[in-house]
Symmetry: C2
Amino acid sequence: MVIDSGEWFSEVCEEGGSAFSLKLGSKVHEEQSPYQRIAIYETARFGHLMTIDGFVMLTGRDNFIYHEMMAHPALFTHPDPRRVVIIGGGDCGTLREVLRHPGVEHVTQVDIDERVTRLAEKYFPELCESNDDPRAELLFADGIQWVKDAPAGSIDVIMVDSTDPIGPAEGLFREPFYRDCLRVLTERGVVVQQSESPLYHTEAIILPLHRRVREAGFAASVALHFPQCSYPSGWWTATLSARSGDPRAFREADARDRGFETRYYNADIHRGALAQPEFLRRRLESL
Amino acid sequence: MVIDSGEWFSEVCEEGGSAFSLKLGSKVHEEQSPYQRIAIYETARFGHLMTIDGFVMLTGRDNFIYHEMMAHPALFTHPDPRRVVIIGGGDCGTLREVLRHPGVEHVTQVDIDERVTRLAEKYFPELCESNDDPRAELLFADGIQWVKDAPAGSIDVIMVDSTDPIGPAEGLFREPFYRDCLRVLTERGVVVQQSESPLYHTEAIILPLHRRVREAGFAASVALHFPQCSYPSGWWTATLSARSGDPRAFREADARDRGFETRYYNADIHRGALAQPEFLRRRLESL
């Protein structure tokens, strides 16, 4: 049995038949918010760990990969991103990366649970260092409703930085949400959405997501691949969908001369993340 | 505590402060060979699992990524690979991939432990399906000594498909071995070697390996990245070193028209695997 004792935190992935564990110092905080159970641990080698309802949300050690890959590929795909919305993303790590782009004029972060952000401010202060940027707007509300209410053609990039497609985030993986996204986006608008593991979730999540965004009217979608040690299987995707044009094309020269520091992302990594493993390439082509 | 009971197999990675666990059916075999303790489990979702001295060697579910990435990038980097040697690789999965290349005339697999191969034949028969190919030669001997004894300029591609750099495999990560490799290789020869995780082993293993192959006289070396769920952190590298020329250049058209099936590898994946994460790019450049 894999157990969550004082010494280790373990997350079991039922559909994977696997578990990932982090050696702990101690649990430093736990609370039941109006939406979910949030816990913070001090780990032996991964810095702080935040879990929601027993699932790893982020660790201090490897969140840089996830946050950079949620933010930069989408922003360098859009020709001139000025208005961005982040649905979820309450830890503010994606927000920080978005704000590195000087052309971005306004970012709205809409997370349903203010407690995630308050705990991130305390335990992941480095991710929240740009929260006071005048271009940043932090809302604590239902992201699905926010997109439904937003004016048509008002947003350049939508980032869906949510929990897994069970519970509150379920509606973020359904076609009505993508139709609302399409309406809200500008002509060359893109959506990027965290979309789980190619090894575990290709049939149940990744392919249905691509099918739904295309049925909702997006011109095309592509999977972006990156390692994410603390998520099931260690291999993760974001799905990048374009309202028009080809989501595989990006401002490569701008990505090379980006003028800000990254730890994972660069133009070669962006190009490489677009490469589809043969088994997934075949399945995506048959959609 | 992470425990190895009847229900789960767990491998703790001390240097990572993490553990990976697989849900089991049952342990189906265990033995002490002259070299190491080998166990075979039936898992719930990963097919068979082979461990050596408590470390995951391979699973039925994800070994295709590792074996394809050990074999195909190196073979499509060399202009005309005919003679190949695999050091280690006793499960025969890399051998099977190498034999898919019709230009390859002879492959010698040198694993010190015959029991690994005998157990692979029984529990991973799909990996051993090419063992009777007349081009394949299976030796059970010390790979370091084999390379030392091999004639100069006799091998096009050396694949070091070993266990971690502790115990019997330690000498495979030392400079004298790379000097022997260099001597044995033909003019455009390459070495590919499994080289652990960028998240956990950059300073302790990956960078020293690049430093040593270059000090041994190789013209250049590059890290190839790929996901490997059942190895620590889920993110793995192979190090590709070229006796002459640029190991980032490869026969891309041949890789596209390769004429055999793969599940992970293709030309885009090859190109993508050469992309260096920003943190590693900076460290490799400063070598």
